[in-house]
């Protein structure tokens, strides 16, 4: 009996490769992202973005290739917020699931671990979220991203603040010790120096720590601006800590996480007047050519699907799907995609220049932003009355609430 089972298993193993490349009437899209672990919040926001794209494409019948429509099927693998797990998950999706292309992780750290894997197997990947400049400096041929790197967007927020009156003269800048947050703090520091703001303290701190003692020391320095690069829970802890020690600088700047609905939900009134950076909001004036006609219609679809407003990471993730969709339609490749079709897909992605609900998607083909989206303009946002308001540098920007109201007067 055992011998028969082994024989059957052996036959399956031998026959396995014969199924590889068998025609499919759908595109199999692998998704590696952080569905659990420390970065589960952001990971699940990217999942919403990818799911919403797949749902919209499939409602329209699928990706149109040569007069026929092929639906998309997403296959998820959890990176568990761990770069090594992310790399293993990508390898499994490519070798066992034989996906046609990949939608990438939320975090820069995991993206940096996954990128060499997709490079090795020559499978294109677009991350709808990762923002560290380190990814693009390595010039991975098969890795693309829809959100511009932080050194491109972070500077803008500092410049907006520097133009306020009275302009902040001193700043304390710090970042959590992970790829994205560190890059954010460095971008803030470089921009502050350029804008003539004196950086009186700059630190990279261990991720997830209670920073209240550090903030007590910062309170003694009385800086005009406190800028922090970190992730969702760290931002919430920091704002609570500042309130607990009753210290409100003139401006408090963070980057990603401020636009996440959970930030306002957790902090309520304390979230107000916190500045952040973004590349998209529900009110960004865009004209989409694919799936959604503009930002408000995407925002409405997101609320309908998940009952939660979309932020720029979710939008960027949906835009990553659109970029693949446009490129696949252009090369007229049918599933499954072989190695040459995938190489062709990379060239098509490099040629993509499309207006979407999220704004223009155009990947750089050279320079330090190689394969990152350079079609967008950075926005400075501020939480005003519990909502995300654009306060610069767009033309229709609202007036920033500055300086920050002391905690005791709220």
């Amino acid at each position: 009996m055992m011998r028969r089972i082994f024989a059957a298993l052996a036959a399956l193993v031998v026959a396995g490769p014969a199924f590889a490349g068998a025609p499919r009437d759908y595109f199999k899209v692998g998704v590696v992202t952080e569905l659990s672990g420390d970065l589960a919040t952001g990971g699940n926001v990217t999942k919403r973005g990818y799911d919403l794209w797949a749902q919209a494409v499939n409602e329209a019948g699928g990706i149109a290739v040569g007069g026929k429509k092929y639906p998309v099927k997403l296959v998820y693998a959890d990176a568990q917020s761990n770069p090594f797990q992310g790399a293993a998950a990508a390898e499994r999706l490519i070798t066992q699931e034989e996906v046609d292309f990949l939608l990438g992780p939320y975090s820069s750290g995991v993206t940096l671990a996954v990128a060499p894997v997709v490079e090795k197997y020559k499978v294109p990947m677009i991350t709808g979220s990762a923002e560290s400049p380190l990814i693009w400096r390595q010039k991975f041929l098969y890795t693309f991203g829809t959100i511009p790197p932080i050194n491109f967007t972070g500077a803008s927020a500092i410049q907006t603040l520097a133009a306020l009156s009275p302009a902040p003269k001193t700043a304390v800048i710090f970042g959590s010790n992970d790829t994205f947050s560190k890059a954010t703090a460095e971008a803030f520091e470089a921009a502050a120096k350029q804008s003539g703001i004196k950086v009186v303290k700059f630190n990279i701190v261990p991720a997830g720590q209670d920073l209240t003692p550090l903030m007590s020391a910062v309170k003694g320095l009385r800086p005009d601006l406190v800028a922090f690069g970190g992730h969702d829970e760290e931002l919430i802890k920091l704002v609570k800590g500042l309130h607990q020690i009753d210290f409100a600088p003139r401006a408090l700047l963070m980057h990603y996480g401020v636009t996440e609905p959970a930030f306002v939900e957790a902090l309520k009134g304390d979230a107000n007047e916190v500045f952040g950076g973004a590349v998209w909001t529900e009110t960004t004036p865009t004209k989409g050519q694919v799936l959604w006609k503009d930002a408000p219609s995407y925002a409405a679809a997101a609320v309908k699907a998940f009952s939660v407003p979309a932020d720029y990471t979710q939008a960027g993730s949906s835009a990553a799907g659109i970029a693949f969709q446009v490129a696949v339609e252009r090369i007229k490749a049918t599933p499954p995609l072989g190695e040459s079709a995938r190489a062709e897909l990379v060239k098509a992605l490099e040629a993509v220049d499309v207006q979407t609900f999220y704004g223009r998607v155009k990947f750089a083909t050279e320079g330090e932003f190689y394969h990152s989206n350079i079609g967008l303009s950075p926005l400075t946002v501020q939480i005003q009355a519990g909502k995300v308001a654009v306060v610069g540098p767009a033309k229709n920007a609202m007036k920033a609430q500055y300086p920050m109201t002391p905690w005791s007067k709220r």
Partner: protein, 294 residues
């Protein structure tokens, strides 16, 4: 130099959080000899319970503490016989089985929390969470946040309460007897199963209350547990495994090292300093700061 009072005060208040996460754990280790990997998850469940109870009733989280204690103590009481069974097996290595079992529980609890509570970080609002006392004299200044001060008071109350229970009640006598020698305690009429179940119930209840407090001072999320598990181990090992009276000193030491490093030295090396100190102390005294651990 003008920051020193603040650095010490912040260290003490950080230490208070470490006391309350470690004190009950130390007790349960002393009696059951179980290293409960799920300690962070009990804190997390407690924090979520506090969050949802606060949302449903609008009551201040500090007033909710007794209710959270009772609910979780009952849960702990019901779960303890299962752990006891794993620990009292005749084959294999029961201590190791206890470790594996609670590690499995922690993974399962974390998964359940993410499934049921979602992935967002939350916060429990309290009337204490916003105010602070401020003292200034010359160039020295000191800010003491109300909610952290309340945490310190709570930590002292819990430690004193547990010490009283251990040293001045018949139940405590039984607990200490069990910790010293199970068989002899049994011969003297101490009911091992029931006493252990009560100790585990107290541990789960106190950990859950701690969660409510952490959710009020810091934040609540399904991913918060591992961080607190690590700090619990740190404090308990430094205090001496199972030596309850050593917990406050170890916790304050950890808090003050962290605070001084964050303020005066490079904050990037805070954790390195903390674990460096643990390593050095264990090298000199493997049974903890007071040489009284197991």
């Amino acid at each position: 130099m003008e920051l020193l009072p603040q650095a010490l005060m912040d260290g003490v208040m950080l230490g208070a959080i470490y006391i309350i996460i470690a004190v009950a754990f130390s007790l349960v280790y002393g009696v059951m000899h179980v290293i409960d990997f799920a300690v962070g998850e009990w804190i997390m469940f407690g924090a979520f319970a506090g969050f949802y109870l606060n949302r449903a009733t609008g009551m201040d989280p500090f007033l909710l503490l007794p209710a959270v204690f009772v609910v979780f103590a009952v849960l702990g009481y019901l779960l303890q016989p299962v752990i006891q069974r794993v620990l009292s097996g005749k084959k294999g290595n029961p201590l190791l089985m206890g470790l594996v079992f609670t590690f499995g529980l922690s993974l399962m609890f974390r998964g359940l929390a993410q499934t049921f509570f979602g992935f967002y970080s939350l916060s429990i609002p309290s009337r204490f969470s916003t105010g602070s006392f401020f003292f200034e004299k010359g160039s020295f200044f000191l800010t003491v946040s109300h909610v952290r001060l309340a945490g310190l008071v709570y930590a002292i109350a819990i430690t004193v309460g547990l010490q009283y229970l251990l040293k001045h009640t018949d139940f405590g006598l039984g607990v200490r007897a069990l910790a010293q020698h199970k068989d002899a305690a049994g011969l003297m009429g101490v009911n091992n199963r029931r006493t252990s179940a009560f100790v585990y119930a107290i541990y789960v209840g106190v950990s859950a209350m701690t969660g409510v407090l952490i959710g009020t001072i810091l934040a609540v999320s399904a991913k918060m547990a591992p961080e607190y598990t690590i700090f619990t181990f740190f404090v308990v090992v430094l205090a001496g495994m199972g030596y309850l009276a050593g917990v406050p000193a170890a916790a304050f030491l950890l808090g003050i090292i962290q605070s001084l490093f964050l303020i005066y030295l490079d904050p990037g090396y805070t954790l390195l300093a903390v674990f460096g100190v643990l390593y050095l102390i264990l090298l000199v005294s493997p049974t903890g700061l007071f040489r009284k651990g197991v």
